[in-house]
């Protein structure tokens, strides 16, 4: 990991950092966008929107709260979830294979953020049923109703599994619930 934060430099008005941001996070955003969209053309447009959001929100990045890659993934997810909602459909995802589990450290792309390692650890700790529901929701973008249909679990249990799973990851990440600056609800 590097402590040369391109987002911090963008927030300070460094124009060169904009291209560096694309070079550093282009593949990450593209990979996430491809999961959420149904076509390359749709992913292309989504990626443009994500990066504009990212540059505009660069001032909200706080390296004491999150790694830069986690912040980038958060901004990307938010934009893509919004896109999916507007289109009233769920992300294009591959079916979760039987026995699919959390990738180990050796299976990852080269640079894994600290948060990703902690999240993987949290996913390993929680009960399999809870992990399955959380992965259906976060990674496969399934709605609560779809998860109820898929698993046969009551709606309240599905919501509870998601919330508790996120809470466990958050606890490991050391989140205290303190606000990030300049963040508006539903942005």
């Amino acid at each position: 990991m590097t402590d040369d934060f391109v987002l911090t430099r963008i927030a300070a008005g460094d124009a060169d950092a904009v291209q560096e941001c694309i070079d550093r996070y282009g593949n990450l955003v593209w990979t996430i966008a491809r999961r959420f969209t149904r076509s390359t053309a749709e992913a292309e447009d989504a990626v443009q929107d994500v990066f504009i959001d990212l540059w505009k929100s660069a001032g909200r990045f706080d390296p004491s709260r999150a790694s830069e890659s986690a912040f980038v993934a958060m901004v990307a997810r938010r934009r893509l979830i919004d896109l999916v909602r507007r289109a009233e459909r769920r992300p294009q995802t591959t079916a979760m294979p039987e026995g699919f589990d959390v990738p180990g450290p050796d299976e990852h792309h080269l640079e894994v953020s600290a948060e990703a390692a902690l999240a993987a650890r949290a996913l390993q700790r929680i009960r399999p049923e809870q992990r399955n529901v959380l992965m259906m929701s976060v990674y496969h973008g399934m709605t609560h109703a779809e998860i109820v249909e898929e698993t046969g679990l009551p709606l309240g249990t599905v919501k509870s599994h998601i919330r508790r799973g996120l809470t466990e990851v958050r606890r490991l990440l050391g989140e205290t619930g303190a606000p990030l600056p300049n963040r508006e609800a539903g942005e």
């Binding site: 694309i22 593949n27 609560h144 996120l166 303190a178």
Partner: protein, 86 residues
């Protein structure tokens, strides 16, 4: 904020992080956040992003055409960036 509102706030924050909120729920969240006097809370959003990163095994190369288009957009944006000190 009472326990019931706190639970509802957590529910809405978790939903925002995983499947987004419609306009009504967004307004409800805004009201609850205002009542909580703690500002917005991105903890669940960051947790979901961390899970996303944890489950990504490989990154797909962004096509050159997309990268070039994005670079053009980036240069245009950089020329008008708010904090630019030039």
């Amino acid at each position: 904020m009472n326990a019931r509102d706190r639970a509802r706030l957590d529910e809405l924050l978790a939903e925002r992080a995983t499947q987004g909120l419609d306009g009504v729920a967004t307004e409800e969240l805004r009201a609850l956040l205002a009542a909580s006097a703690q500002g917005d809370d991105e903890g669940f959003d960051l947790a979901a992003a961390a899970i996303e990163l944890a489950l990504l095994v490989d990154l797909e190369e962004m096509p050159a055409r997309v990268r070039n288009r994005l670079s053009l957009r980036g240069r245009a944006w950089a020329r008008s960036m708010p904090g630019r000190d030039q």
